[in-house]
């Protein structure tokens, strides 16, 4: 299966094929292109200034807020919401619930791209990104660091996701033998991938364990790794519902009839899973609140803000999911999914930015440049996603 075994003419064929596939298809002047192309261009200009003049030139980062929107949203939230990939892999490959097989490939693709782009966005935020190779090649292993663990898990899990998705690539490139080999790797990769996911999702939470004196006590607890892991499960599920709804509208011509019909059934199952996970998560929060004896903190403005997150974006969508499942109200489920996604975003922003250094007067707000670059990352990801799904058989054709 190594490249040396593949004859050169095969490589030439693939190169020609790839160049041909690279050409754009379909209309150019779609609303998405009209919006995204200018944003991407502006983002590139901003990034030029970021790499020549420094982070301070384009971001509102300060000594009090070393982590800004690029870390708090792109990396922290992006990774949490990509949790759908490992949850679905668990459901389909480990529990063998075949109902969800038809959306598996697209979820893995979404997860893979999220990891490449959102943890790739980390490169923009690093002060000395050319040293990112240091913890990997081993001239300085800081294995005492949670971030070391997270970095390695990111890397390994992105590799695992790529392996899980690679049969589709091999199929697209007409490499039948390679596809068979890669397919045989799937179960092992999936099992390793789920394990890696559990640990880096919680690892991102563990990054804040040492920030104990800086995070508002309502958001800090020693259980924060567990909370991050559990919220990545329902955040990931909600994102699968959301993305599934979007792509079944946008790419409806690519999706087979049978899959289209079973889509509602799939959404009901995912919503049920999300409802139960959120119910458990809510009790985790209640327990941690009680265990930390944080009663007096609730009747402050921070307490109200905490209640907005916990009641408004955890408990309410949990009930909405349950109601939607029982009464088959798909509108309610989709609204709940959006609220859940917003809730996970809110939680990560709270821990990382809003309730971080909560006593500081000069609060951090993302600059317009930071928002534009974030939007650029999202748009580029959608471009790549669109390129792949229109060329490879990602959606189930049945």
């Amino acid at each position: 299966m190594n490249t040396a075994a593949i004859p050169t003419n095969e490589l030439v064929r693939f190169a020609k094929f790839f160049l041909q596939e690279l050409k754009p298809r379909g209309k150019w002047l779609t609303p998405f292109n009209v919006i995204s192309i200018p944003v991407i261009l502006v983002g590139l200009v901003i990034l030029y200034f970021r790499f020549t003049l420094g982070l301070g030139a384009v971001t509102n980062l300060s000594q009090q807020y070393p982590f800004g929107f690029w870390i708090g949203f792109d990396v922290m939230t992006g990774v949490a919401l990509a949790g759908g990939a490992y949850v679905l892999c668990f459901v389909v490959y480990v529990l063998r619930i075949e109902k969800y097989h038809s959306i598996l490939k697209v979820t893995i693709l979404n997860g893979l791209l999220a990891y490449i782009f959102y943890s790739g966005a980390l490169l923009l935020d690093l002060g000395r990104p050319w040293h990112i190779i240091n913890p990997i090649i081993g001239n300085s292993f800081g294995y005492n660091s949670v971030l070391f663990l997270v970095a390695w898990h990111f890397l390994l899990y992105t590799g695992a996701l790529f392996l899980e998705f690679s049969p589709t690539i091999a199929e697209w490139a007409h490499w039948e033998k390679l596809r068979k080999f890669l397919t045989s790797m799937t179960l092992g990769t999936v099992i390793v991938g789920i394990t890696l996911s559990m640990l880096h999702q919680s690892g991102i939470g563990a990054m804040f364990l040492m920030a104990k004196p800086k995070i508002h006590p309502l958001w800090y607890s020693e259980y924060i790794p567990l909370l991050y892991f559990v919220s990545s499960i329902f955040g990931g599920l909600a994102m699968v519902i959301f993305e599934g709804t979007m792509s079944s509208k946008i790419f409806s011509n690519l999706i087979g009839q049978k899959t289209h019909h079973s889509h509602n059934d799939i959404i009901l199952g995912l919503a049920k899973g999300a409802a139960i996970t959120m119910f458990v998560y809510y009790f985790f929060l209640a327990f941690i609140f009680m265990h930390g004896e944080k009663w007096t903190l609730i009747n402050t403005s921070w307490g109200y803000w905490y209640l907005v997150e916990v009641i408004g974006f955890v408990l309410v969508p949990c009930f909405m999911f349950a109601y939607g499942v029982r009464n088959k109200r798909f509108g309610v489920i989709k609204t709940a999914a959006i609220m859940t996604v917003l809730g996970v975003i809110l939680n990560r922003q709270n821990v990382c930015l809003i309730a971080y250094n909560w006593y500081v007067v000069d609060k951090y707000y993302p600059s317009w440049q930071e928002l534009t670059v974030t939007l650029m990352v999202v748009f580029v990801e959608i471009w790549v996603f669109r390129w792949i799904v229109t060329r490879m058989s990602v959606f189930s054709k049945e």
Binding site: E98, K99, S102, K258, T259, S262, K272, A275, I276, F279, F283, A286, F287, M290, H291, E293, A322, V325, R326, E398
Partner: protein, 57 residues
């Protein structure tokens, strides 16, 4: 800062168990709610067209 007196580190344990109990009870109710009417539908459906009950895909 430096004083010697008794601190009960298991003070919240009783409340935690109450919370756990309510979680278990509410959990049973939630699972019943989530799988409630669907089962009746499925049962009725199974009776009406027993030949086509399983829709594999």
């Amino acid at each position: 800062m430096e004083y010697y007196s008794y601190i009960n580190i298991f003070e919240t344990k009783g409340l935690a168990y109450l919370l756990l109990l309510s979680f278990l009870v509410l959990g049973v109710l939630l699972i019943r709610y989530l799988s409630g009417p669907e089962r009746k539908d499925a049962a009725r459906k199974r009776e009406s067209d027993s030949t086509n009950s399983y829709e594999g895909f």
